[in-house]
Amino acid sequence: MADSFQVEKSSEGEITVLQVEGYLDAHTAPDFEKALEEAIQAGQHKIIVDCAKLDYISSAGLGVFMGFVEEVREQAGDIKICGLIPKVRQVFELLGFQQLYHIEDDRPAALAKFEESPTWGG
């Protein structure tokens, strides 16, 4: 029952999708950070983080979203978030993430959002 965490990377055209699964806390946040950093270093600046299988997030996990979004936006990209279960959505919203990130219902909606605004406010 020890809470595990996994990231899986895939592509939809020029967009990189990181699917996160399980429990994202101070113990597992470094794994997520590594995956995100690798994508950005490989020049991928349009990133969807699909959280449909994410059961839990603490501020350590939120911190990963915070630390890297400016960098991709400078490159005319963005990190868009989708698939939040209600319990996880509540944490994002408590801290006001909906004012600074595009949070979409599911992956198709996040892809559509990239069509509409490839970067934040762009």
Partner: protein, 155 residues
């Protein structure tokens, strides 16, 4: 006490573990078991799990600097009106009054990966209190009131 109705006996629990983030999952399942037996709704249990995860993560990172030979203690008690949690360390300590709540906007602009834990705790719990004696005993105490509670009897 001294009331006509029998007050529920307070139930007390305690968990001690090495100061390492790998134990956060254990803390959450400890709280899940207590919350369920206290009859709390799932959403409330989730809030308590998150608040305590944040406080323990802070102890592990800031109070003990990831020194796994140190010990973190989580004490929980509940009665029919509220659930109270104390997280205790003997590490560095800090002055919570000097920690300014920061805007997410500013943290993002500065590419910070932290700075939201204490705010989150305050917004999740009904009461939060610090008792800090650096190197001796630093304690954060949090309280969650039960909804539809029967008011605690006054003595």
């Amino acid at each position: 006490m001294g009331g006509l109705e029998m007050a529920m006996i307070e139930k007390k629990f305690r968990l001690q573990f090495p100061s390492s983030t790998e134990n956060l999952a254990m803390v959450r399942s400890f709280l899940d078991n207590i919350g369920k037996q206290a009859g709390m709704p799932e959403g409330e249990v989730a809030k308590i799990q998150l608040a305590v995860d944040e406080a323990c993560s802070n102890v592990i990172e800031h109070a003990y600097g990831h020194d796994q030979s140190k010990e973190v203690m989580v004490g929980v008690s509940y009665d029919d009106s509220q659930l109270m949690i104390a997280i205790v360390d003997r590490g560095r300590g800090f002055d919570p009054s000097t920690v300014r709540p920061q805007q997410l906007k500013d943290l993002v602009a500065e590419r910070q990966t932290g700075g939201l834990g204490l705010q989150l705790i305050r917004s999740l719990m009904d009461e939060v209190r610090y008792d800090i004696v650096p190197g001796e005993k630093n304690q954060i105490t949090m309280v969650k009131y039960f909804t539809n509670e029967s008011r605690p009897e006054s003595s």
